[in-house]
Subunit: 246 residues, 2 copies
DNA sequence: CGTTCGGTTGAGCTTTGTCAAACCGCGTGG
DNA sequence: CCACGCGGTTTGACAAAGCTCAACCGAACG
């Protein structure tokens, strides 16, 4: 109970009081171990739970009539899934594990209690929603206005930045537990073209795909090439801190 | 004070009590009249206000190094702008009027008071954020996985659905107070290709561009062609209604 | 009546997709 | 230990979608 995954994650945003910690920890039923490729939640099903990732990777996606899928966002250890649909009856996108993973499901009614009893925790939930939104905005810009290679470069830069926030140190080698086809489904291009774009980035000395990992040769140049600005990953924590503690 | 724009808009989501109405109305300083093309808020500036549209159209956008812009979302009368950035210090995208418009700005500190004092209003704010998010999700799918003509068809179908929610009756002629270049900036294609895509839709008997308006010839077929499902525009109002009134 | 702005159209080019083959590392079973 | 197959990556040839540039058109407006 002392270091439940959500308490640990939310502590990132504010110095939680004992009461707040207890409220959050009470949300947690029990973590579930899921195999890679497990459907966590399907499109159209009641959106009455949300989830935190304890370990592993997952993604939200939407299937199209044509049979291919668009991946909306990746989720990494510590992140919260499903909050985006809190105001909808049925979920608007699917949720699926990418690797073997441990997730903690929370029921919506329990969240509702928390919202009613803590202003600061409410703000953290809103912050998480705003963060998801900000990432989606970047996805829109990436999909709408960049070439395939720029999309890929931006994706790599984002991955590095997000992992740095989790691991608290920059990494120039990122192990990718998924295929280039998945990257294609994120970037809206084919896996063949992902491969070609990697070659291009390698020729430019920015980054390359080696075995099962991305190796960043020149992070600053990569970010510049992708026009990447990490501001959208940096929330204003003072907004939470300054809230009445209640 | 009796029918301030935000009270009117939020009443759409719940049967507000007198106290709630007063709280909301108190938020409102005074509406501002803005000419078409006015920058409401710039990228990088403090995101310490948000806005409701009383009349006219506006859009949020992001400028790229290359000089072209990606439009993220359109805002129509009654909608709330800027909530997406509530947890960020600086705004992540620009906000600009598309037509002459009347907007009501609210300061963030006033919102904070409301969040602290009403659970139901807090949920409405979260609902608005979730709605913005859902629209962004559709934008991502549109940009990532559809042909130009399908993108355009989806955009028209969305426009029709959103206007129907505002005017409470379906319209098969939609006056567009902006050029095809703007549509291109929304869909991530060039204005030339917007024109070509309109021709294609017309040939298919789905919709056409006439003078300054879109005319929908066959709404059902248009939605089918675009794989449009309005679920993402239909929030779960019971979530707000069932909240403790406080 | 001329100018301007947005829309339309065509020609040629660039980017990306499609399809198919070759390749490569890895695990499996003989 | 080797042959095989499998999943994922790479490459090449070709097709399709979309972009660019330029010309043209038509309506609105001075």
């Amino acid at each position: 109970m002392t270091d439940s995954c959500i308490v640990k994650h939310f502590s990132h945003y504010a110095n939680l009081t004992g009461a707040e910690r207890a409220l959050l920890a009470a949300l947690e039923d029990h973590p579930e171990e899921l195999a890679a490729g497990t459907e966590i939640r399907s499109v159209g099903h009641r959106a009455d739970h949300f989830f935190t990732m304890t370990s592993g990777w997952a993604y939200s996606y939407r299937m199209l009539r044509s049979g291919d899928q668009q991946i909306l966002d990746l989720y990494m250890p510590g992140e919260v899934m499903g909050l985006r649909e809190i105001a909808f009856e049925d979920s608007l996108c699917g949720l699926r594990t990418l690797t073997d993973a441990k997730v903690c499901p929370f029921s919506q009614s329990r969240i509702d209690e928390v919202l009613a009893s803590s202003t600061r925790l409410t703000r953290i939930f809103m912050l998480v929603m705003a963060r998801e939104s900000a990432i989606l905005v970047e996805r829109v810009i990436n999909l709408g206005r960049r070439s395939a290679a720029e999309k890929l470069a931006h994706f790599i830069a984002e991955l590095q930045a997000r992992l740095e926030l989790i691991h608290e140190r920059p990494e120039n080698e990122i192990e990718l537990p998924f295929s280039q086809a998945v990257i294609g489904d994120i970037l809206g291009i084919t896996s063949v073209h992902v491969s070609r774009s990697f070659r291009l980035l390698k020729e430019k000395g920015l980054a390359g795909f080696e075995r099962d990992r991305v190796v960043i040769y020149n992070a600053a140049a990569l970010r510049d090439y992708a026009d990447f600005d990490r501001a959208y990953l940096v929330e204003d924590q003072s907004w939470v801190e300054d809230a009445p503690v209640l």
